[in-house]
Amino acid sequence: MGDKRPRSFYILAAFFSAYVLFLYGPMIAIYILSFQGPDGGLTFPMNGVSLTWFGKVFSGGGIVDIGAAFKRSLALGLVVMVITVVLSVAAGMAFRKPFRGASMLFYTAIASLIMPSIITSLGIALEFRLVDDFINKHAADYGLGWLAEGHTTAMGLFTSGLGAHLTWTLPFGLLIMFAIFNRFDGRLEEAARDLGATPWQTFRHVVLPIILPSVVGIGLFGFTLSWDELARSSQAIGSVNTLPLELQGLTTTVTKPDIYALGTLTSAVSFVVIFAALSVILVLQARQRRQGSDAGKGMV
């Protein structure tokens, strides 16, 4: 194939640009509109520029306690991120050896990924409801009366909510691990073993530094997917709401641009996390290139 771009390149490049515009255009519109003047409405034109609506969000301004939801989502996102990273890396390592149940775990993860969210959410809600019913009716029979005392529900942010989020983030983590180890040179581990490294040393000093950029990627998926998760949490979060749930609730009632301001703030958190993760990945990769191999550099 020659160096001159064929005509199809320009057509497809235009198509791709249109797609990117389609992806980002609407989002940019609400970022701009969140700076709407005090008398401005939900649509263009801008009626002056102000921070009024951000102020409304921070002061509560009549709408639900956003600050609390913000903190809850942040805390849950961080916990989900840590658990996703640890469990995915561990399971990814397990898949490098044959073990009974390997394919079962794999198919379960895939099923969890493509299961319609409402079904997972309903199932978790049912599970916790049955547990609650059981505690309320029978805990006393087993001398666990203290458990039933004042018991309302076992459902909550860090029980059912956390579980619901993990069913969504863990499959991504596992698939990323598969992608990593597909390209991983197993001889490096053998070399480490031959040099007398213990399994832990092999992991800590050989495997981990190589896979670290992708592990950061798993963390990125873990946090952002949890931070934005809605469908699976919807029935399984208990009495308090996460930020996306509050936002969804607001769509039917709010008629002022404060919902855009909240949207801008939420996206800002996402973008900060994405930017931080990508920077870390770039730095790690650059370091690997610098220190990774001394092949072809003569004697060092």
Binding site: F16, P26, L87, R96, L122, E127, S160, G263
Partner: protein, 311 residues
Amino acid sequence: MAVTIDNSPDTIAPAESTLRKLTMRSIAWLQAGPMMLVFALFFLLPLVLVVVVSAWDYNEYEMIPAFSFRGYTDTFEGCVANLPELCTILKTYLKTLKLCLLTWSLTLLIGFWVAYFLAFHVRSKTWQIVLSLLCTIPFWTSNVIRMIAWIPLLGRNGLVNQGLVGAGFINKPVEWLLFSEFSVVLALVHLFTFFMVVPIFNSMIRIDKRLIEAAYDAGASGWQTLVNIVIPLSKPGIVIGSIFVITIVMGDFVTIGVMGGQQIASAGKIIEARLSALQFPAAAANAVILLGITIIIISALTRIVDVRKEL
């Protein structure tokens, strides 16, 4: 599937080797165990409970652990009696399938060409990564916000209406742009084309470029190369992407709720409605029906191509 088998030469004595294998196996179990536990507790057990509870009885305020098909019979109420008129559940499923089909064909069309451009026309690795990231970043941001984002564009006084009125195409703003099936499909395509792009790109990037050159040298036109080489070899990606999009849309209730102004019924929304009425067995029965239909669609799709080989 990335299961690698350690086949380092067995120079160790048999007994010792068996011991080593046992240790390795238990280490693998320890490593995979926590993830298995999470899936068992928050995915498999809940699924089993959905199936079990779907066959329970219920009244206005609680479920009764006694065998009953009430959840199912209530769901299909009027389906036989009112024939040939379609009952609510069938109408709802037909509507969901229609939305699903529309979204699927649009995401496939857009996703295919986006992936094609990225895989075959972007030549430098760096640009490939940058442009792929550009497509991925919205996926890491909130879906609800990406739905809300259509309001200033499609609303009654939105940009589109302003533009159309301004250009003289219409006299007064059109209403069907927002809170309609149109806006639902638009938002679904907007949100989920990504799930089509990634697997198709993944399949395309693995196509040996020499095959395409060979076709070119043998005198095939661009179109012939596309139909006879690129599309068949991208089929696994197309199928995986389709499974993603179809399962998401079949169970969706958030996008259809927000973008449909809570007015459009869907398979997912039935379950949500039953749940908010605390009719757990009825909700579970609907979930089982939805699950059944989804499984039928997926197995039909996997007939076309052996997906397992591709992961």
